[in-house]
């Protein structure tokens, strides 16, 4: 019975007209970036890293903090590649290495953003499916008040841009 219902649902989906494309205003692309990922437990660790970056006048284009479990977080920070040596030197400092783990760096990435997002899950699913079905690896996702941003490899940017232009309707 359940199988039959599922079959009917699938047939209905196949027969259904294609949903209208979601209307968006634009795509934003960042300059080339480096993405640094690490986990930490005490907030001091993240504050210290942000302090050192600020002291060295290093811009942050993308920052996210995500809980892993109680008092255990992951952070992702993107910075300009011309600051790479300084950033890596910060992450090599003993007071930093002692308080973070799982450090990884992705060099040569871009942030591609779609707007307006406005919390619409349809935009998120369409973005995710479009990239995923075309082998554009999403390294990180983050939302702002009206923008959804993805970190992708720079070499995939032209393909990603074209895919988004086909997947969404831009006014």
């Amino acid at each position: 019975m359940q199988k039959k219902a599922k079959l009917v649902q699938i047939i209905r989906k196949i027969g259904a007209p294609e949903p209208p494309r979601i209307k968006l205003t634009g795509i934003l692309e960042s300059p080339e970036q480096d993405l640094f990922t690490f986990s930490f437990r005490a907030e001091d660790a993240l504050c210290n890293i942000l302090n050192f970056l600020g002291d060295l006048s290093i811009n942050i284009r993308f920052l996210s903090k995500t809980p892993q479990s109680d008092n255990h977080y992951w952070a992702r920070i993107s910075t300009d590649p011309d600051q790479r040596e300084k950033v890596l030197a910060i992450f090599s400092r003993r007071e930093i290495t002692n308080n973070i783990s799982g450090f990884t760096s992705h060099q040569g990435v871009r942030i591609i953003s779609l707007y307006p997002f406005k919390g619409n899950p349809g935009v998120a699913i369409h973005l995710y499916n479009t990239f995923h079905s075309n082998n554009v690896e999403i390294l990180a996702i983050s939302t702002a008040s009206s923008v959804i941003s993805c970190v992708i490899w720079s070499k995939k940017l032209p393909q990603a841009r074209n895919l988004l232009k086909s997947a969404f309707y831009f006014s």
Binding site: L28, T37, S39, E43, D44, L46, C47, N48, L50, N51, F52, L53, G54, D55, L56, S57, I58, N59, I60, R61, F62, L63, S64, K65, T66, P67, Q68, S69, W74, R76, S101, G102, T104, I111, S113, K118, G119, N120, P121, G122, A124, I125, Y128, N129, H132, I138, L139, A140, I141, S142, T143, A144, S145, V147, I148, S149, V151
Partner: protein, 176 residues
């Protein structure tokens, strides 16, 4: 530099004479924070989560996704309490979430939106914000900062304190 740096000290060291002006701060209460850990090859969980939200016209108030330990990925998602209850009260609709082994839920969460600080071109602004929150004893549950805006999730009981901390470092219309 210790994490206990005050804004006054930062003003001196970074030459900032006055508080940065930002747009009015927006606050959203009554949110639920879901955080999910997925394996690297799990392509379905996030897709099905988005589908579930779209099918039920549920707004995403906050979303971050990225690499975590052991090659896994983790996702933070904030939904309104009423929307979350709508999902959990209808049998079957919550099956997706119940099938995900590593899912944690934090209730009574508030979202603060800071807009206009230009985090991307003003080095040290994120540091000032995070230090102000830390010095006030506020745990930032999750954060997403891109270009001009920062979304901060805190426990609802910390909302007033968090707003005061933010207003101590940014000048927002309507705030003293």
């Amino acid at each position: 530099m210790s994490c206990g740096t005050t804004f006054d000290k930062l003003e001196k060291t970074r030459g900032m004479k006055k508080k940065l002006e930002i747009f009015p701060i927006k606050v959203q209460e009554s949110l639920i924070l879901l955080y999910i850990t997925m394996t690297e090859k799990d392509n379905e969980t996030l897709k099905r989560t988005f589908e579930l939200l779209e099918d039920n016209n549920i707004m995403i108030h906050f979303l971050t996704e990225g690499p975590s330990e052991g090659g896994n990925r983790n996702v933070s998602l904030a939904l309104h309490r009423d929307d979350f209850e709508k999902l959990t009260n209808h049998s079957g609709k919550f099956q997706l979430f119940s099938k995900i082994g590593n899912i944690r839920i934090t209730k009574e969460v508030g979202l603060i939106r800071i807009l206009g600080a230009h985090f991307d071109i003003r080095p040290g602004i994120a540091s000032i914000l995070f230090n102000a929150m830390r010095e006030s004893g506020i745990e930032i549950l999750a954060n997403s900062t891109t270009i001009t805006s920062s979304l901060i999730l805190v426990r609802e009981k910390h909302l007033d304190l968090a707003l005061r901390a933010i207003q101590s470092v940014f000048k927002s219309p309507g705030a003293e």
